[in-house]
């Protein structure tokens, strides 16, 4: 109970403190990519800019548009923020200290839990768009729902082949399966799933960008067509919840990618999966954090490099590209590592 509370607070505070850091990094990196300076007025190098933004949002008046469905309007941002945060409960952020596994809840069906809870945030976006009594918001909400459910299928199918290789749905077990090494055409590699399932990783990352409404798939809020999409009418802390929910969903998705494909908290010479000391536990947490941050930087890099898809291209890519590709990958995995072929290297 006490340990759970401590871990919950640690994860929650880490998530909430990572959001302003990401916002700052995003603005600074986008500025550098576009040969600008970026935020540089508030504090040294503008590092206090996210703090100023948060304070501003906290003091902003909240405007609920006339004719809005007030109940849904009030609750939608919480529905968009809480699920991605809750999904992080099953993601192992470290190995263990003593006998205490460094995950808020080591559910035996961890992968399913993350997918189920994470996909609930589509309700927040659909409700928020519908309840605003605004045409942009409604269209943004409907588009966003269609996009998120379409790419969820590809995401789920990509994970099927990972589970076939891992033979387990528990998150800590999946990480443990990746602690060894294997050789690919004579080249020794860590036994990360990304090397064993490269196609699944590509499908997963493409679907993850779409799930999080990030460029090149940010059509729900493409500002040139829909003003701000589903949160057009939102202001003050309720807007902040949508905004933070989006970033927390990114962090959770990156954590999932690290856990399932990039070896989780394990990095060969630095962490020892069999050790339960405080030092080893702290190092495993740092390794997990560094890997997650690396994936998040890829998110930002992609956002400021690729142009936006058109809506028909988006739906086409999801249903005609990623879903058949993921299905073919499942079949190929079954044939290569089939029951007759024995177990995986």
């Amino acid at each position: 109970m006490g340990a759970t509370l401590a871990k919950s607070l640690f994860v929650l505070l880490a998530l909430l403190h990572l959001v302003p850091v990401l916002v700052y990094l995003e603005r600074k990196l986008s500025a550098w990519i576009q040969d600008r300076r970026g935020p540089n007025r508030v504090g040294p190098w503008g590092v206090l800019q996210p703090v100023a933004d948060a304070v501003k949002l906290l003091f902003k008046e909240e405007v609920i548009p006339a004719g809005a469905d007030r109940g849904l309007y009030r609750w939608a941002p919480a529905l968009a923020f809480v699920p991605p945060m809750l999904a992080f409960a099953a993601i192992p952020f470290g190995n263990r200290i003593g006998t205490e596994s460094l995950v808020v809840s080591d559910i035996p069906v961890g992968v399913l839990f993350v997918l189920t809870i994470g996909s609930l945030s589509v309700y927040g976006i659909a409700f928020g768009g519908w309840a605003s009594n605004n045409k942009w918001a409604l269209l943004g909400g409907v588009r966003s729902s269609a996009q998120m459910v379409s790419y969820e299928v590809a995401l789920g199918l990509a994970l099927v082949s990972v589970l076939m290789v891992s033979g387990n749905v528990g998150m800590q077990e999946i990480v443990r399966r990746q602690t060894g090494s294997f050789s690919l055409a004579g080249v020794p590699l860590p036994a990360w799933n990304v090397f064993q399932q490269p196609v699944a990783f590509v499908v997963f990352m493409a679907a993850a960008f779409a799930e999080n409404n990030r460029l090149p798939f940010d059509l729900p809020e493409c500002e040139t067509e829909l003003v701000a999409g589903y949160h057009t009418e939102y202001s003050s802390m309720r807007f902040a919840l949508f905004f933070m929910g989006e970033y927390v969903a990114m962090i959770t998705m990156s954590g999932l990618a690290v856990t399932l494909f990039l070896g989780g908290w394990h990095l060969d010479p630095f962490t020892d999966p069999d050790s339960g000391t405080w030092a080893q536990g702290a190092i495993s947490v740092l390794v997990f954090g560094a890997k997650t941050l690396a994936v998040l930087l890829v998110y930002i890099w992609v956002r400021w490099t690729l142009p936006r898809f058109r809506y028909d291209q988006l739906m086409g890519l999801g249903w005609k590209g990623l879903v058949p590709l993921a299905l073919a990958n499942v079949a190929a995995t079954a044939l290569i590592w089939g029951p007759e072929a024995g177990t995986m290297p």
């Binding site: 906290l58 009594n133 459910v149 033979g167 058949p324």
Partner: protein, 138 residues
Amino acid sequence: MSPTFYSEYANVLIFFLVGAAFVVLNVAVVSRLLRPHTAEANKDSTYECGEPTVGSAWVRFDIRFYTVALVFIVFDVEVAFLYPWAVVFQRLSGAGPFALLEMLIFVAILAVGLVYVWAKGDLDWVKSMDAQADRARP
């Protein structure tokens, strides 16, 4: 079910309560005390490029969004059925190619659904607009 099975979900509940407390505290308590409350009719009007709004905001939207939702439900359930099979797949070595064939048949039946929707043009946003125009023509 073992006691640890339930205690792991109790941990999720604790985590949820801590997170929900954060939301309630910030939105309903701290921000409510700090922010101004000066409602005014013009301020509350719906945004539509600064013009008075035209008609209802709950406009009719394309029926194809429903089609996508239906196809999604079929495939999401399929994926849910694939998971248990994927997990035990390597342990089915005694069953020989049977485990593989069975799942391939299951996936093939669903793939027929995808091919059908594909052939109907429901996955093709622009093309089905052409099809609608063809139908409208005498």
